[in-house]
């Protein structure tokens, strides 16, 4: 399957601050991709680079086989906090969308608004957070984009509005096969809906891959205390913690681990992401030490 986004050596600085460092990754088509990482990891910067709102300091991006282009009809973008025009009514938003987008699907937009029970005469400023998010999603998908980017779309929503938003998003993705990339700092939101994961920590890509493959190749090992370097070839230690008697490791290994001196468990997605975050923390400290 082809890639919707290819990124090579991508770096973005804001003045002296680095938001993204030397990122290289491909995003395959036909997936719902979760972009996870703590606040300030560079998720929004990466999404804005992909949709052409920012230009890179260094490196290359290709989106749907072309350089990113702001306002492209082929890419839908729902920015953080799902912004809408508070003074415009729902109907005026739809008219604006139709005016600005050559491929605007009016029946999809009107149908969704009716299905959601939104009053077209209502000003967007008076909508609830969940309704505003649904309006922003409607505007993005009525463009009929080939790639849909969402920046923390459900972070500010209550659990019911969150579920309803994801239901609408998944129904659209199922019907149209649209590639979706959505960011979140909450892994639980992404666990159900994403089948591909990008973990971004401290401006760097830590791990990418299909969720199922990641879950199948990461293991939690616990046993008597020992040096993680002795774990053997083909096994990458993602995170390690030790007490005076015990060692607990998170290990990536495509082959099953059948060493009887370890007790081996699986990880859920949240633990997996946390392991990469803690790895970033310790290697970050190492780099600081190296510089001194």
């Amino acid at each position: 399957m082809s890639d919707v986004v290819t990124i090579e050596g991508l770096t973005k600085n804001y003045g002296r601050r680095t938001a993204l460092t030397d990122c290289t990754l491909d995003i395959p088509a036909g997936h719902v991709v979760g972009l996870v990482g703590p606040n300030g990891a560079g998720k929004s910067t990466l999404l804005q680079l992909i949709c052409g709102l920012l230009s890179p300091t260094a490196g290359h991006i290709s989106v749907l086989g072309a350089p990113p282009q702001s306002g492209s009809p082929r890419v839908g973008f729902v920015a953080q906090d799902t912004p809408v025009y508070a003074g415009l009514t729902v109907a005026e938003h739809l008219r604006l969308g139709a005016h600005l987008n050559p491929r605007w699907d009016a029946s999809l937009a009107d149908g969704r608004i009716a299905e959601l029970g939104l009053d077209p005469r209502q000003r967007a400023g008076k909508l609830s957070g969940g309704q505003r998010a649904q309006l922003a999603l409607t505007l993005a998908i009525a463009k009929r984009p080939e790639l849909l980017l969402l920046d923390e779309p459900v972070a500010a929503l209550d659990p019911l509005a969150r579920r309803e938003f994801l239901q609408g998003l998944m129904a659209y993705a199922a019907e149209n096969g649209t590639s979706v990339v959505m960011s979140s700092h909450l892994v639980a939101d992404l666990e159900r809906v994403c089948d591909y994961l990008i973990v971004l920590v401290a401006s760097r890509v830590r791990v990418t891959g299909e969720v199922e493959e990641l879950l199948g190749t990461h293991h939690r090992l616990s046993g008597a205390r020992r040096d993680p370097d002795t774990i053997g070839p083909g096994r990458h230690v993602v995170a390690a913690s030790h007490t005076d008697v015990q060692s607990t490791l998170v290990v990536r290994s495509s082959a099953p681990i059948e060493d009887p001196s370890w007790s081996v468990d699986g990880l859920d997605l949240e633990d997996l992401v946390l392991a990469y975050m803690s790895e970033a923390g310790s290697s970050g400290r190492d780099r600081v030490l190296e510089k001194r």
């Binding site: 129904a171 159900r192 809906v193 089948d195």
Partner: protein, 135 residues
């Protein structure tokens, strides 16, 4: 028509949960030969999960010979589960014996967790031994 649900804390992967719910519904007779499964869009719009998860579950069920997709119409149940009348007739005496065994375990001082652990480990050993004999 059945409705799916997802237990995100069960540790069972989502696609397998869907597969198990279909098999379970077939065993209980909620799904019979010729019944249609919900469309992928219906499932994801209800459960808010990834469409590929549903597709994978339906492919697995098809591979097991339980369902058959008909392009443009839907996915249909093509077989029955729960065994024939003979195997169902064997359920009751087996249940009796198991209940008696539970009573003996309780008398011997085993608590719930002891019983569960013993049951699971014995079943696992038994399955492995059988698999070994076959291989």
């Amino acid at each position: 028509m059945i409705e799916f649900h997802l237990d995100s804390r069960s540790g069972v992967s989502p696609y397998l949960q869907l597969v198990q719910q279909v098999r379970h519904a077939m065993r209980l007779g909620l799904l019979k030969e010729g019944d249609r499964l919900p469309t992928v869009k219906d499932v994801v719009a209800k459960v808010a999960i990834n469409p590929n998860t549903v597709l994978k579950a339906y492919r697995e069920l098809e591979y097991e010979g339980l369902v058959q997709p008909r392009p443009g119409i839907g996915t249909f149940v093509t077989s029955t589960l729960g065994g024939d009348d003979d195997s169902r007739a064997a359920h009751e005496p087996l249940r009796q014996e198991l209940t008696e065994w539970f009573e003996r375990a309780r008398k011997a001082g085993l608590d719930d967790e002891d019983v569960e652990a013993l049951l699971l480990s014995t079943f696992r050993d038994f399955s492995e031994e059988r698999a070994g004999r076959r291989g």
